[in-house]
């Protein structure tokens, strides 16, 4: 079997959103990755999301990456965001959700609320360093056990976060916790790209997760 990890992401045509930036990093690391977006000339806010062949695109993909802030990009991206996760669940592709909120408290609450509605479909939940601070404040669960408590309650298999203050990436799983020092590149997105690349090939159990987390 070919050891190439494949990932797709829902992104904007400009490539400035978080999922697109992750895909760009992942491609440079050798992951086979592609972005699902609107057709050229189409308005992204109202593009024909019904025309996306999710099944075909997910046929060989390991990861379906979405960013939480995409729900605010317009009605079509929001619907494609939701549909992508359902198709991934049906097709056996794992959903990765990047929580990338940092704006006003109201929008943070709204976006986080949308993510919470989808927790059962998410396999990897990642908090960027800014969102880690914002959401833990919003939830009133500050400190190092925020990720563990989110995992306990949502039962998401892998909850990760990157702290920009001590440059640490932390992965919480039912079997244990993996922690590693990682570069501050794009609020921990570089670490996440490497983690997603390493995880499918790193073996089972907490040792596999630890190995994937410290891929650098």
């Amino acid at each position: 079997m070919e050891d190439v990890v494949r990932m797709i992401a829902l992104g904007s045509p400009s490539g400035e959103d978080t999922a697109s930036r992750l895909i760009s990093l992942a491609s440079s690391m050798g992951l086979k990755s592609s972005i699902v977006t609107s057709e050229p000339g189409e308005n992204f806010e109202s593009f024909n999301h019904g025309a996306i062949d999710w099944k075909g695109k997910m046929a060989t993909a390991h990861w379906m990456v979405n960013s939480a802030s995409m729900v605010t990009a317009g009605p079509s991206p929001a619907m494609a965001w939701s549909a992508s996760m359902t198709f991934a669940e049906l097709e056996g592709c794992r959903n990765v959700m990047i929580v990338d909120v940092s704006d006003g408290p109201e929008s943070i609450a709204r976006i986080w609320g949308q993510v919470i509605e989808k927790v059962r479909q998410i396999h990897v939940l990642f908090f960027t360093s800014d969102s880690l601070v914002a959401i833990s404040k919003l939830e009133g669960i500050e400190g190092s056990d925020f990720l563990s408590r989110v995992r306990e309650k949502t039962l998401i298999p892998l909850v990760c976060g990157y702290s920009g203050t001590d440059y640490t990436a932390r992965v919480v799983h039912a079997l244990g916790v993996a922690e590693t020092q990682a570069s501050n590149e794009l609020e921990g997105l570089e670490w996440l790209a490497g983690f997603l690349k390493a995880l499918p090939l790193s073996g089972a159990g907490i040792e596999g997760i630890k190995a994937a987390a410290s891929w650098e």
Partner: protein, 364 residues
């Protein structure tokens, strides 16, 4: 048996994302219940949407329910408990506006309590307060409000559901939930089958397991109304790891469907699908329940036919079965007798034949 099925949230296939649009989809799918997730503190701007959903539920008969905050620490320190209660307050308000029949809450970790009487008493005290507050909210209306919320005058306030938990460190075994519900009027147990299965190390495997569970609830709590959650679940060492679609889990719906079809006549049950494939799995459950009921009807029809046949012949069904068995044995013996001479007389022939066993190429 009244069985209502529905998803925990707006259906995934719903083109819009509002609750009212979700309710339209639920009706189109033939489902009859919905549980709204108020996972974030409810803001006043959401109330208009909730009220529309309440009116639609009142007119259409879709059972609306509401799930409280996804994270609660009711057994935590005062600060944690108050934070959880503050989040619950918003869902209690929303419950009235949406005409929720059940408000579902978690208790959370045991905190500083050990499992047992102390923890249960504390949970009972807290839920007494919650029930009181729900009744206060439902009763706190002027005349005009009755026009806007017709269910307030004609329905009982929402029942407060206490959900079973799926992990050892969280309060909420079936026994704990039943004990508290027994002591606090206005509360009902919410049986999350996935959690019970996980906490019981994979205990829900046969229809007898379901019979035992519901008998226990009936004996300890009473009543015939049940509110359940069902989803596939991965578990390890008595702890739920994560939710999966039903097909991918060792928790199957077929035994539950079989139990409901065979022994569930006395029950009035609502089952909410909280699987990653919300309404898809709710439909899957409905199909399995229909199949189980169909199978049962066929068995009953066959039995009735036999009883009628036995009566016509002046026999008991057991005597008829014995006679039929003897006749079948005699027929089989006769067939064997008939086959013997044919085999004995069959000798290799020198005549050319086109009817050989290995003549696979004969297209006709």
């Amino acid at each position: 048996m009244p069985l209502k099925l529905g998803p925990a949230g707006v259906p995934l296939s719903c083109k819009g994302r509002t609750i009212v649009e979700g309710m339209d989809d639920i009706t189109a799918l033939g489902l009859e219940a919905m549980e709204i997730q108020t996972v974030r503190p409810v803001q006043p701007k959401h109330f208009d949407q909730y009220w529309q959903a309440g009116i639609l539920s009142w007119d259409s008969g879709i059972e609306m329910n509401l799930h409280g905050p996804y994270y609660a620490e009711l057994l935590g320190k005062r600060r944690e408990r108050n934070r959880s209660l503050a989040k619950m307050e918003a869902s209690m308000q929303a419950g009235k506006i949406i005409n929720a029949r059940h408000l579902v809450y978690h208790v959370g970790p045991y905190g500083e309590y050990d499992p047992g009487t102390g923890a249960n008493e504390q949970v009972a005290n807290i839920f007494s307060g919650i029930v009181e507050r729900v009744r206060e909210i439902w009763g706190d209306q002027d005349e005009d409000a009755y026009t806007a919320f017709p269910w307030i005058s004609e329905q009982e306030p929402s029942l407060v559901g206490i959900e079973t938990s799926g992990r050892q460190e969280l309060w909420g075994t079936v026994e704990e939930v039943l004990e508290v519900c027994n002591h606090v009027e206005g509360t009902v147990p919410v049986l999350n089958i996935g959690h019970i299965h996980a906490r019981g190390h994979g205990s829900m495997r046969t229809s007898e397991d379901y019979a035992e569970l519901f008998d226990m609830v009936r004996e300890n709590y009473g009543g015939s109304k049940f509110y359940c959650h069902f989803a596939g679940i991965e578990h390890r060492m008595g702890n739920a790891l994560h939710y999966t679609q039903i097909k991918k889990s060792d928790l199957k719906f077929e035994p539950f469907a079989e139990f409901l079809a065979e022994e569930g006549d006395w029950m009035d049950i609502t089952i909410i699908s909280d699987s990653p494939l919300l309404e898809h799995d709710a439909m899957y459950m409905m199909q399995h329940y229909d199949k189980a009921r169909q199978r049962l009807m066929e068995i009953r029809a066959r039995d009735e036919r036999r009883i009628k046949l036995a009566n016509d012949r002046g026999l008991t069904p057991e005597e008829l079965e014995l006679l039929e068995q003897e006749a079948a044995d005699a027929r089989r013996r006769q067939d064997e007798e008939d086959a013997k001479p044919a085999a004995a007389t069959k000798s290799p022939s020198k005549m050319m034949t086109f009817d050989t066993a290995d003549d696979d190429d004969d297209l006709f």
